[in-house]
């Protein structure tokens, strides 16, 4: 820690940090566009200008090392004038089309234009116009709005190690262009959402979220992402009781600055084509009717197979494991197979696809492995178990977005569990716990609706064995139970009819 003087006040700040971050820690906000704590300093936007005692000219704050006894000014009259002038510069070619722009509301340029800029401009010439371009399979670039902070270029290079975006031409004609080798090659990596997020203006936009909503409509909940076993902390953006997207968490310094596209855009699947009623053979039934039907089967059966559980919270898994113990106590041969996909059988649990996304695309496989127990069996044993079992419980394994996307239900048929059930005529004995009213729910003998990931509070265990809490961001319909509660309700029915002790 070193002592510095800012605007005549003494502060003790961390000298290892960048000056911008060090000042942020003590509550002094210096406006910046191009500076990002995770990227190298570029000093392009010149908005973070500060006055240092003994230095005649204004200096870029982000490129100034913190030194003991340094005396700086961050809100003197000279600085305020310089910032105003810089804002005028940034806005020369900016179209100021905030009503149209999707970034409005979370746009740094908008914020700083209000806080540090002038009300009018002296620029009378025509603004440059370059039409919008598609640069990625989910990414658009609006050159007019760009202020050339090169955050996107630096992000691709430094974090993703990919030379896909570059600044081309010079001076007033400078534009950001996709320079991926190959004819009409588009950016296709998993961080296009992060690129549009890191852009301080609305130049980079995601195609799939384009014009869907406005930023100020969202209610925000701090929760975790369901996409893979990393369980990144995220902010859920909710509108009309529907999660539109995940955004990076509020406390970025602690919980991470970036999230991948897979998590960011898959949450809307939780609110499309939902199953909100109990079903027997595709027909709407009461919950008690399904319990009674299942009770009849349960009485006769000897072998019970439970598939899945890697998507459920620790609390639910605990309840399911109690149910399993009770079944076993009553002479039912109960097998709980939590492995449902190829990568799980290959033991490919923790390999990183990129710096965030893991190959394990279920949120809670670590805990499921611990509770259900890994017997090391291969795929054929599951196939055999499906054939032999009298009752098969499938827990949330055939619902979006875990086994398919709601736009593409055909992908469901490629799921391993789906195929095994199909091949071995297993649908007649299947109890499907699912969130979605899809082909699987209609085919299954009994379908139980359960709460989705975003509709319940729960604890999940991530790849490093850390327990993380997910918060309820969407209100479920009244009476909708989660998987653990359903098992409890079924067991209560059994004990009422004295089927189990």
């Amino acid at each position: 820690m070193v002592n510095i003087t800012v605007d005549g006040q003494e502060y003790s700040v961390d000298e290892k940090k960048n000056l911008i971050d060090a000042l942020k820690d003590v509550g002094i906000h210096v406006p910046t566009f191009c500076y990002h704590p995770k990227l190298k300093v570029a000093g392009l936007c010149r908005l973070c200008l500060i006055e240092i005692e003994g230095v005649p000219k204004l200096q870029a704050g982000c490129a100034t090392p913190v030194k003991e006894g340094m005396k700086i000014l961050v809100s003197s009259e000279k600085i305020i004038k310089a910032r105003e002038a810089m804002m005028e510069f940034q806005l020369i070619n900016h179209p100021l089309d905030c009503p149209v722009c999707d970034k409005a509301g979370e746009c740094k340029l908008q914020d700083y234009s209000f806080s540090t800029g002038q009300a009018s401009t002296r620029y009378k010439e025509a603004k440059r116009f370059i039409s919008q371009e598609v640069v990625g399979d989910n990414l658009l670039i609006n050159h007019n709005r760009c202020i050339l902070c090169l955050r996107c270029v630096r992000f691709s290079k430094e974090i993703l190690n990919e030379e896909s975006l570059e600044r081309t031409q010079r001076g007033n004609n400078t534009v950001i262009a996709c320079v991926k080798p190959g004819e009409n090659a588009l950016i296709s990596h998993n961080y296009q959402g992060a690129l549009s997020d890191i852009c301080p203006v609305g130049a980079l936009l995601n195609k799939n979220m384009l014009f869907k909503s406005r930023v100020w409509w969202y209610e925000k909940t701090q929760t975790i992402c369901h996409g893979c076993s990393t369980l990144c902390k995220v902010t859920a953006n909710v509108k009309n009781n529907e999660v539109y997207r995940y955004m990076p968490p509020e406390n970025k310094e602690k919980d991470g600055y970036f999230i991948c596209d897979k998590g960011r855009f898959s949450a809307p699947d939780f609110s499309k084509n939902r199953l909100y009623h109990f079903m027997i053979n595709g027909k709407k039934k009461k919950s008690t009717e399904t319990y009674a039907e299942l009770y009849e089967r349960f009485k006769k059966s000897g072998k019970v197979l439970i598939i899945g559980g890697t998507t459920e919270s620790n609390e639910d898994l605990q309840k399911i494991s109690e149910a399993v113990k009770l079944f076993e106590k009553n002479n039912k041969n109960t097998v709980w197979e939590f492995k449902t996909e190829d990568y799980m059988y290959k033991g490919d649990w923790n390999s990183q696809i990129d710096f965030l996304l893991t190959s394990d695309v279920r949120p809670n496989s670590k805990k499921a492995k611990e509770i259900a127990g890994d017997n090391g069996a291969d795929k054929n044993s599951l196939k055999k178990a499906v054939k032999d079992a009298d009752i098969i419980f499938v827990i949330n394994e055939l619902s979006a977005p875990f086994s398919y996307k709601t736009e593409d239900e055909s992908a469901l048929a490629e799921n391993m569990v789906f195929q095994f059930l199909e091949e071995n005529k297993g649908w007649d004995k299947t109890v499907l716990l699912t969130t979605h009213n899809n082909t699987a729910a209609k085919k299954a003998n009994i379908a139980w609706p359960i709460q989705s990931f975003v509709e319940k509070d729960g604890t999940y265990t991530d790849k490093t064995n850390t327990e993380k809490k997910s918060a309820k961001s969407v209100k479920p319909p009244e009476g909708l139970k989660n998987s653990g509660e359903l098992f409890e309700a079924f067991i209560e029915t059994l004990s009422q009819k004295e089927a189990i002790a």
Partner: protein, 172 residues
């Protein structure tokens, strides 16, 4: 609780108690119209409904969507009116302008669907105030009764002006 007296009852002057001035000024208005009709033959009434009086410029009728000087739709689907509407009667769906229609819209975003439900609308004029582009004004005709619920739903086809013009600004 103590009562704070904020207003004293007006004390009438002695000459005001005769009502003479008030009655005279009232009768003068009557006399003015009498003279106009009787001597100058100017009529004080109109032959409604064949003939109709104009409304004040501040009258709020049904919504009209405006076009700019080049005939392009002013609305850019910013959702400001939809957001501010206290009756939630406006429904907008935004879309990206297709390249072949780029000359019809000033920006790259346009309202694919713009519906106003006149059964919900309370004609408060907040949409007019919220619009940053001067695209929506309540300067249409008076809200009429219909025998069908569907007719109360104004769509873009019925609301959009045929010709463009300069921005109206604040109506006084």
């Amino acid at each position: 609780m103590a009562t704070v007296k904020v207003h004293d009852k007006y004390k009438w002057k002695w000459y005001q108690k005769f009502y003479f001035i008030s009655i005279t000024s009232g009768m003068l208005v009557t006399l003015k119209y009498f003279l106009k009709c009787a001597i100058l033959r100017q009529q004080a009434t109109v032959q409604y409904p064949e003939e109709q009086r104009g409304y004040s410029s501040r009258f709020r009728g049904r919504h009209r969507l405006k076009r700019d000087e080049k005939g392009r739709e002013r609305c850019t689907a910013c959702f400001c009116c939809m957001w501010v509407c206290p009756a939630k009667c406006i429904h907008i769906e935004a879309a990206l302008v297709p390249p072949e229609k780029a000359n019809l819209y000033p920006e790259d975003k346009y309202a694919k669907v713009f519906n106003v439900d006149h059964l919900r609308c309370i004609f408060c004029g907040l949409c007019e105030e919220a619009c940053p582009k001067g695209a929506i004004y309540l300067d249409g005709d008076i809200p009429k009764p219909f025998d069908n619920r569907d007719d109360f739903l104004s769509t873009k086809d019925t609301m959009l002006d045929k010709e463009g013009g300069p921005i109206i600004g604040t109506r006084l």
